[in-house]
């Protein structure tokens, strides 16, 4: 992988991180409301996976999806405007943080019913297979979602009918306050997939190199075999589940331990030590990120409010 590509990856992780930090601030300022779930700590996963995706590829993610949306190509300004509840938001202000949707980027959201998007992505992939329209279909979900029946039903059908989906489990060890080990009897998540005869791999989600390598293997397999693939990314969220979470359920030391494995610091240090990047370049990237995000915030602040008369639009096809 050449220097410029690696720089882009670092840049993308920094963009996601900074956007999330700003979201947290904007939340305390009450510019962003509702539920807000931050991806801080998990950036290498979306960054690595999205690296391989093309505009025409389909993605479904969860309520923790700001980073995924950004890296799938949804402009930061439309993401931010969405969280501000403005018409310029990617979902017209109707979705908010949990429901970033952008059809031009084939980013199907932003879904907040845990696991509901898993069979839906299988459906997207089935359509792509039937229509032969050369789209990949990728689904992101947390390890908590794997306890839901929907996961099980979807895996079985994807395997049975050879539907080419990439299942990306972001295993951050907790579903809200419930540790994986307190909620699932099988802790090796790849076994859950393999048991449906779905090929599976576990990945260190804090290491972008490994994310890239294993995602590539998975996508190649899907391309070659026309079958589904499951990736478990072992990762960690550095922040509480949402802005409402008192975070009472995890030992402080555990959080600290994981923070030491920050995927951004890891890549930065690696690139610096290999002299693939300079501190000046990193500063420059920082500035670019800041500029992008501040521009996004200004854009959002200046956004307009949907006229209340339009509330009942868009319910059915002809409700323009």
């Amino acid at each position: 992988m050449d220097k410029s590509e690696l720089t882009i990856l670092l840049f993308n992780m920094m963009r996601v991180r900074r956007m999330e930090e700003l979201c947290a601030e904007l939340y305390t300022q009450e510019k962003i409301r509702g539920f807000l779930h931050l991806y801080i700590g998990e950036e290498a996963v979306a960054t690595g996976v999205m690296h391989f995706l093309r505009p025409q590829d389909n993605v479904m993610a969860t309520y923790r999806e700001h980073g995924h949306a950004l890296l799938k190509g949804v402009p930061a300004k439309n993401i931010m405007a969405e969280m501000f509840g403005r018409t310029e938001g990617c979902s017209g202000g109707r979705g908010g943080s949990m429901h970033l949707i952008s059809l031009p980027h084939r980013f199907y959201g932003g879904a907040a019913i845990v696991a509901a998007g898993i069979p839906q992505t299988v459906g997207l992939a089935l359509a792509a297979k039937r229509l032969k329209d050369n789209r990949r279909s990728i689904c992101f979900f947390g390890e908590g979602a794997m306890a839901e029946g929907a996961f099980h039903e979807a895996m079985n059908m994807a395997a049975l009918w050879e539907i080419p989906v990439l299942f990306c489990c972001e295993n951050n060890l907790y579903a809200m306050g419930t540790a994986l080990s307190r909620s699932q009897s099988q802790l090796d998540l790849t076994k859950k997939a393999e048991n449906y005869k779905v090929a599976a791999q576990s990945v260190d989600g804090m290491n972008i190199y490994e994310v890239l390598e294993k995602t590539k293997t998975a996508l190649d397999y899907i391309q070659r075999e026309g079958k589904p693939y499951f990736l478990e990314f072992k990762t960690y969220r550095f922040r509480p589940h949402s802005m409402f979470d008192p975070d009472l359920y995890r030992p402080k030391e555990e959080i600290l331990k994981w923070k030491k494995r920050c995927p951004i610091e890891f890549l930065k240090n690696d690139l610096l030590s290999k002299k693939s990047i300079t501190l000046e370049k990193i500063n420059e990237l920082d500035c670019m990120v800041e500029e992008e995000m501040q521009a996004a915030i200004s854009f959002a602040s200046m956004g307009s409010l949907e006229p209340v008369e339009n509330l009942e639009r868009h319910l059915y096809e002809n409700d323009l």
């Binding site: 979902s91 069979p119 459906g123 089935l126 039937r130 039903e153 868009h314 059915y316 096809e317």
Partner: protein
């Protein structure tokens, strides 16, 4: 030309599958078994396993797959074997299919058709005799079709597939063997219009789905007794063509609603409330309702019959109201 409701459904499906290669059917036992109610017999042989997909027992899963496939450009027809099992998939229908267009400010559409058999009357007991179509009409974003005639059974699917919104079609199990005269080509009266199946000045009897034939029979019997009433077949519960109802009431001033759902919170309540709001001053008497008794349907025939409105009860109610 005579045709049964089952044949009509089959013709509608055949037409859909022939016309659009992106239409496919997915559900439990639609293929090898030939359809639980023999509607899709031989379809697997004719259209192959890519278009006639036998699904495992996974209602959340295959409804979710249907939604995704619709998002992805296909025109899926999902068969939920009976309405009873739809309870397992309501999350997908209500919290995904129904909201995606609105929540995305019009970007997404879910052109999904879900067919299910509905209704009681065959001694299948509590878990297999539900009638949820009226209840599901509460959900904005869904369209709810309730074909009661053979003609409608034939044409509704075509209409449902024309649009790009999720449509639920409820096929009443008791109607499957009903045979009716139909035109040689499908008649295309939009399903979003209620139809007056029998005109009459004395009372507006409003009904839909499995209750229509017995309401018509009661109306004919009453006719012979000199009680000439009007029978309205709603055909679609959401969106509801309430104009046709209101116009009828301007003429008759009396209303009876017959609904197979449990009385409290049934669709009949919504109709009554709308009449209250729009026709209060036209009414000569309070709107009356005949509904399912508020119990799970028992197996024993006489109990089941007592639980679901029967022709005789409907007739007696009309007579009472016109006394």
């Amino acid at each position: 030309m005579k045709m049964t409701y089952r044949e009509a459904l089959r013709e509608g499906l055949t037409h859909a599958l022939e016309k659009n290669p992106n239409v496919f059917l997915i559900g439990e036992d639609v293929g090898a078994y030939g359809g639980t109610y023999a509607v899709t017999k031989d379809f697997l042989q004719i259209y192959g396993p890519e278009r006639i997909m036998d699904a495992p027992l996974s209602e959340v899963g295959f409804v979710g797959i249907g939604i995704g496939a619709a998002l992805g450009g296909m025109k899926p027809i999902v068969e939920i074997m009976t309405v009873n099992f739809s309870l397992l998939a309501l999350d997908q229908l209500i919290n995904s299919a129904a909201i995606f267009r609105h929540m995305s400010a019009g970007q997404l559409s879910v052109p999904l058709v879900v067919r299910m058999t509905t209704g009681g009357g065959r001694q299948l007991a509590a878990q297999h005799s539900n009638s949820f179509e009226g209840w599901l009409a509460h959900i904005p974003g869904l369209k709810i079709l309730v074909p009661a005639s053979v003609e409608d059974a034939r044409s509704f699917l075509t209409f449902a597939l024309k649009g790009n919104d999720p449509v639920l079609i409820f096929e009443h199990a008791l109607l499957l063997n009903r045979s009716e005269e139909v035109s040689s080509e499908p008649i295309t009266i939009s399903p979003f219009k209620a139809l007056i199946r029998k005109e009459g000045p004395r009372l507006s009897l409003i009904t839909y789905g499995g209750m229509l034939p017995r309401c018509l029979e009661a109306a004919m019997d009453c006719q012979e007794l000199g009680l000439d009433i009007e029978v309205i077949d709603l055909r679609c519960l959401r969106p509801l063509d309430d104009r046709t109802i209101f116009q009828s009431i301007k003429k008759t001033h009396r209303v009876l609603i017959v609904d197979e759902g449990w009385r409290s919170g049934s669709f009949s309540a919504e109709i009554s409330a709308r009449i209250m709001e729009n026709c209060f001053y036209d009414l000569d008497a309070p709107v009356a309702r005949l509904c399912r008794k508020e119990v799970p349907i028992p197996y024993a025939r006489h109990l089941e019959e007592a639980a679901i409105p029967q022709m005789k009860e409907i007739k007696a109610k009309i007579q009472e109201m016109l006394k």
